[in-house]
């Protein structure tokens, strides 16, 4: 694959990422458990998809599998297909992935305090990424670095380039991370809970920044979050995950205003609104541990609307309303 195909315009609305029936297992010793089970997800070029779920539901695992960064010795993809821009990535080698990483797919991680190398300056880390693409006679890396910092609204680029990570605030570091991820103009940005480790006020700025950059650079984005409240601000489509399964998947508007799956309904009911009074309803119980997912529908022990088949048969994904959902309440038509 050469550099030129990066310049070719992506077919607008074409599928950039296509995940079908993807199952990812973690292996510990002789036992294995599925952290992601039969996930279907498509991300079209230039669109933002939100992936929502509680901690441990498998959303980070799914995100890592899209950039080929699953821990190679402790995990494996056991079923399904995974393709990026028409290329089958399930069979991809490490080198295939390395060609895509950074250049076409980039990732911003949750914890900006751990994501920068503590012994290297920002200028070094940013410059090293820029130099991967720019020939020596091209735009000087320093100018490009300053430009990138400006893009993520960091002033005083001179000083920041000379700084070490520990001399910067969390918000600044996350901006640097975003600048590094965007340095090579990827087609897909995976943002794995990019605001979780930050103050609420900074969170809002980072979300706005990501949204603006996504539009300006016309890239696709997978925004992983446990905060349903952020979804409407940023994503056109939303996928809700529970215990390794994508239980509901549709346009953000329909998922938020007309949730189909009882889990999504419960999740949305527990959100505070301007008019809510008294105690918010809560979802009873705890999500299952990934190694001990109950049989049938994984949500059935907590589901207020469970009935006969729920503890025996894992529901398949079926259309309901304007979304796709996995629930026995919506039988095949």
């Amino acid at each position: 694959m050469t550099k030129t195909d990066n310049l070719a315009p992506l077919s607008v609305g074409g599928d950039l990422v296509s995940v079908q029936g993807l199952t990812v297992e973690y292996i510990s010793g002789k036992s294995a458990f599925a952290a992601v089970r039969e996930a279907n997800l498509t991300i079209r070029a230039g669109e933002t998809v939100a992936l929502v779920g509680e901690s441990g539901c498998g959303k980070t695992t799914l995100a890592l599998s899209l950039i080929g960064l699953l821990p190679s010795k402790q995990s494996r993809i056991t079923a399904g297909s995974l393709s990026f821009d028409g290329q089958d990535m399930r069979a991809a080698s490490n080198d295939d992935w390395r060609i895509l990483r950074g250049r076409r797919i980039a990732m911003v991680f949750q914890d900006p305090f751990a994501a920068l190398n503590p012994v290297l300056t920002i200028g070094h880390q940013l410059g090293e990424t820029i130099e991967l693409d720019s020939p020596k006679d091209g735009e000087p890396p320093k100018a490009r670095a300053a430009e990138l910092l400006k893009m993520v609204q960091l002033d005083e680029s001179e000083r920041i380039l000379r700084s070490y990570p520990h001399q910067m605030s969390g918000g600044q570091r996350q901006r640097v991370m975003i600048a590094m991820a965007l340095a090579r103009r990827p087609d897909l940005l995976i943002a794995d809970e990019p605001t979780t480790a930050l103050d609420v006020t900074i969170q809002d700025e980072i979300v706005k920044l990501l949204r603006r950059l996504q539009e300006e650079l016309r890239m696709a984005m997978l925004f992983v979050t446990h905060n349903v409240g952020l979804v409407q601000q940023i994503a056109a489509r939303t996928a809700v995950m529970y215990a390794g399964r994508i239980v509901e998947h549709g346009s953000s508007a329909s998922v938020l205003s007309d949730p189909q799956h009882p889990y999504t309904q419960g999740l949305l009911k527990s959100l505070p609104t301007l008019t809510s009074r008294g105690t918010l309803p809560i979802l009873e119980g705890q999500p299952p541990e990934p190694a001990h997912v109950p049989p049938g529908c994984a949500f059935h022990p907590r589901c207020p609307r469970r009935f006969e088949p729920c503890d025996k048969v894992d529901p398949a994904e079926r259309p309901s309303g304007s979304s796709l959902t996995r629930c026995h309440l919506y039988p095949e038509q």
Binding site: L69, L132, R184
Partner: protein, 276 residues
């Protein structure tokens, strides 16, 4: 960061003393030919086994050679062997540790078994065996043999550091940005595991000087007439009742030098690893 390290280092008088001694020794070693008052190989059979005096500060040996001049020449040899064999040992240990820790799996398994084997050999015995077979080894042989037998502990230590470091987010980020594996290992991992390597390097130089002295004492290290502290000591042992200076000065020199390296090494460890 560096300023903090410097301040911590200066607050440790023993480490500073060690560093000063090492600098002084290194300078004397470099300036050895012009510093020695006499030719270290020139014999004067009319002035054999003379005690320390104004003309011969550390006395003369059984062939009338000036012990002070011989020790300065020997200093050069000893330091050269110390630094070079430490360099060999540190390079091998660091590279193998990085590879084993980063790749894990069967690469790691094989390398660590090799480390086990090297570690369970009595090192001195191994060195003696190799040098005995070589017969009249050159000082380069001595360097190589000391260096090649002392890397195993460091390899295991670096591997441990790398194993814990490679799981950190910034390594995942570097991979996510598409950086190559050699670049991640050398630019991102190595600086993060370098502190124990620096400490080990300092201690290894001291240990290598000690090993060289021991080997030369046994006649398997630096071969006469080339002087080294160890072989000056050997010639001194036959005359210990009549010429104490022949044994005392090289013995003290070895003691002070190795002590200086150990003090510096421990000082650096305190500076670089505040957990201790």
């Amino acid at each position: 960061m560096l300023r903090l390290y410097w301040k911590r280092f200066l607050s440790n008088p023993l480490a500073v003393a060690g560093a000063l001694v090492i600098v002084a020794l290194a300078v004397s070693g470099l300036a050895a030919p012009s510093l020695a008052p006499m030719d270290p190989l020139a014999q004067d059979l009319f002035a054999r086994l003379k005690g320390p005096s104004a003309a011969h500060w550390f006395g003369t040996d059984e062939l009338g050679r000036d012990v002070f001049s011989r020790m300065i020449a020997g200093l050069r040899v000893s330091l050269l062997i110390g630094f070079m064999s430490a360099f060999i040992s540190i390079s091998i240990g660091t590279v193998l540790g990085l590879i084993a820790g980063y790749w894990r799996g069967w690469v790691d398994a094989i390398l660590m078994r090799v480390v086990d084997i090297v570690l369970c050999f009595p090192t001195l015995f191994l060195i003696l065996m190799i040098l005995a077979v070589l017969d009249k080894p050159s000082i380069y042989m001595v360097m190589a043999v000391i260096g090649l037998t002392s890397w195993a502990g460091l390899a295991r230590m670096v591997r441990g550091e790398v194993l814990s470091m490679r799981e950190r987010d910034f390594i995942l980020v570097a991979r996510g940005l598409g950086l190559s594996t050699p670049r991640i290992m050398l630019v991102h991992l190595l600086p993060n595991v370098i502190s124990p390597v620096i400490v080990a390097a300092t201690l290894t130089v001291g240990a290598a000087i000690l090993t060289e002295s021991g080997l030369s004492f046994l006649g398997l290290g630096v071969q006469p007439p080339l002087p080294s502290w160890g072989n000056i000591l050997t010639s001194g042992k036959d005359f210990i009742h009549v010429a104490w200076w022949l044994s005392l000065f090289p013995g003290l020199a070895i003691l002070v030098t190795v002590l200086a390296f150990n003090l510096l090494g421990e000082g650096l460890r305190d500076v670089l690893d505040p957990r201790l």
